[in-house]
């Protein structure tokens, strides 16, 4: 895989699209359908495979419908749009073509959570994970490093099924080895051997934030939802306390998913969930993701205090 001129670090999206280009060059019948969005990593594909880059214009409903027809014809379709619109505008198409008919469309979208918060609430796909979790048969993937992104193209081609992948434009670099990543489990544990009574469960950008801050606990990265519940429960039995963190609204998101699983398996872990609540209304001024995280109390020092608190209460027992 080549690097792209002018891009110092490879973002998860570009890692993925350059791999797609390599596969197309090697003869895979791949079509990229786009709703008027490109990427530096897509330029070569567009030049080399003109009629395999299908641009429908800013028409997300048609993006999904055309992708459905292409997938029906046996093409390996990657639909690509700007989040949140492919999900929020075209949810009915996703619901029918991907969930119900199970056409093997890979829906990819640039932007995850608050990564484009500067553009305003309209461009924040903060509900997308919650929305997509309501559907059966669709995997929801948040690549948190280059390795996951690299593995996606083979995963898509070897196991054709409906997928939704959202790329956070600030995630770059490598955290995992290939052997760490198992798409059938859907999660990976970043172990910190010192403390075992508390675990943070998160996905996407907050995996990177927690690891960068060196938090004194294990970090579980749920990079592909739904996770394998039984294996996850096996992990969660090791911890007394669970903290979930997500760059998305709390309703129906990762925190809800963990509560559902813990309840289903009759466990009694203490669970604290961090996520966006928008309880003071939707952003009305120019903003960015750090401001929004602060307003929602999603902060590294708050997580540090919580970990310290759980550690002390464990020591006192």
């Amino acid at each position: 895989m080549q690097n792209i001129e002018g891009i110092a670090e490879m973002k998860v999206r570009d890692v993925f699209f350059l791999d797609v280009y390599d596969k197309a060059k090697s003869g895979e019948d791949i079509i990229i359908a786009s709703s008027d969005i490109g990427a530096p990593s897509l330029d070569e594909f567009r030049i080399m495979f003109g009629n395999r880059f299908v641009n429908v214009g800013i028409a997300e409903q048609n993006l999904l419908a055309v992708s459905a027809g292409l997938a029906f014809a046996g093409k390996k379709v990657i639909a690509y749009g700007l989040n949140p619109f492919p999900v929020t505008r075209a949810f009915d198409q996703i619901r029918n073509f991907m969930a119900s008919m199970q056409l093997p469309i890979t829906l990819t979208a640039l932007n995850a959570g608050t990564c484009s918060a500067e553009a305003g609430y309209t461009h924040m796909p903060v509900e997308n994970v919650s929305i997509m979790r309501t559907l059966q048969n669709i995997k929801v993937i948040n690549p948190s490093d280059e390795t996951i992104s690299h593995m996606l193209v083979n995963e898509i081609l070897s196991h054709p099924s409906p997928r939704y992948i959202q790329f956070d434009k600030y995630i770059e670099g490598k955290q995992y080895e290939k052997c760490d990543i198992d798409f059938s489990r859907g999660f990976v544990v970043n172990r910190n051997d010192d403390k075992q009574n508390v675990v943070i469960i998160t996905y996407g950008i907050w995996v990177r934030e927690c690891l960068k801050a060196g938090l004194d606990c294990d970090i579980i990265d749920c990079f592909s939802l739904p996770v394998n519940e039984e294996i996850l429960i096996g992990e969660l039995r090791k911890y007394e306390n669970i903290v979930t963190v997500e760059d998305g609204i709390l309703v129906g998101g990762l925190g809800s998913m963990i509560l559902e699983i813990i309840n289903k398996y009759g466990m009694n872990n203490k669970i604290i969930s961090y996520g966006l609540c928008m309880k003071d209304g939707y952003p009305k001024t120019y903003t960015n993701r750090e401001v929004i995280w602060n307003q929602s109390g999603i902060k590294i020092d708050a997580l540090n205090r919580l970990i310290g608190h759980f550690s002390r209460s464990s020591d006192n027992e």
Partner: protein, 274 residues
Amino acid sequence: MNKIRIEELNRKAHDLRIRFLDIFTALGYGHLTTAYSETEILVALYYEVMQYDAKDWKEDNHDFLFMSKGHGAGMIYPILEDVGLITNEELHDMLRLGGNAFISRKFFLPGFEFYGGSLGMGLGMAAGLAYALKMNRDNKMVFCVLGDAECYEGSIWEAVLFAAHNQLNNLIVIVDRNYMGCSDFTENMCRLEPFDDKWKAFGWETKKVDGHSIGALVDAMGQIRARITSSPLCIVAETVKGKGLDSVSNIPLMHGYMPSGKDIDEAYENVKLL
């Protein structure tokens, strides 16, 4: 088409309307008026225009039909049974509570390429398939039956733009133009006219025909495999919702009507041969 064949197909349309009553009054659920509105359109497609081999069908050896107006899918069942694509037993197994919908859910019979009903979705998918067929230099045709009131959906016009831009001349739309939605006439709700001009303005070839004249419908689609234009084709088929059963035809709020009780016998007696 010769007169004898037209008469034969008119009788076929009548028989299918009767068979529709058998199937869906027994089920106690269905959309009679929309099925009767499109009967001649489907007869023209299945008995004259579409290419498929009922005796030796495979997933990909036939023309494709997207019933985007999914509420009208009911009329597909008696046709598939009549042409021999499904058996009587399969039909009854598919249309019973807890039955085996395996065949329709596999999406490989012409007319069941798609799970319609959420309006506005079939045309985009049909266009995507037409695009892929052209890429593959595959000369099968893609047909899409739309309801006129379905054309209020913005997604239809997204697909109309796409198909014209990509010169999908292997895509044929037939609009069941019965001038009625669910609650009212289209021109009372939110005017659609001049309807065919809208398609023309988007770059489509258009034809306007009597949608209950099988001869006119077949003529309009007579040369579709040898068209010299690069434009997709839209046939506006002027119809009457509920055609063939006067007591319910052209009356708003009859969209979800299926006769029950004593109305069933009355319906059988009154279904007309056009």
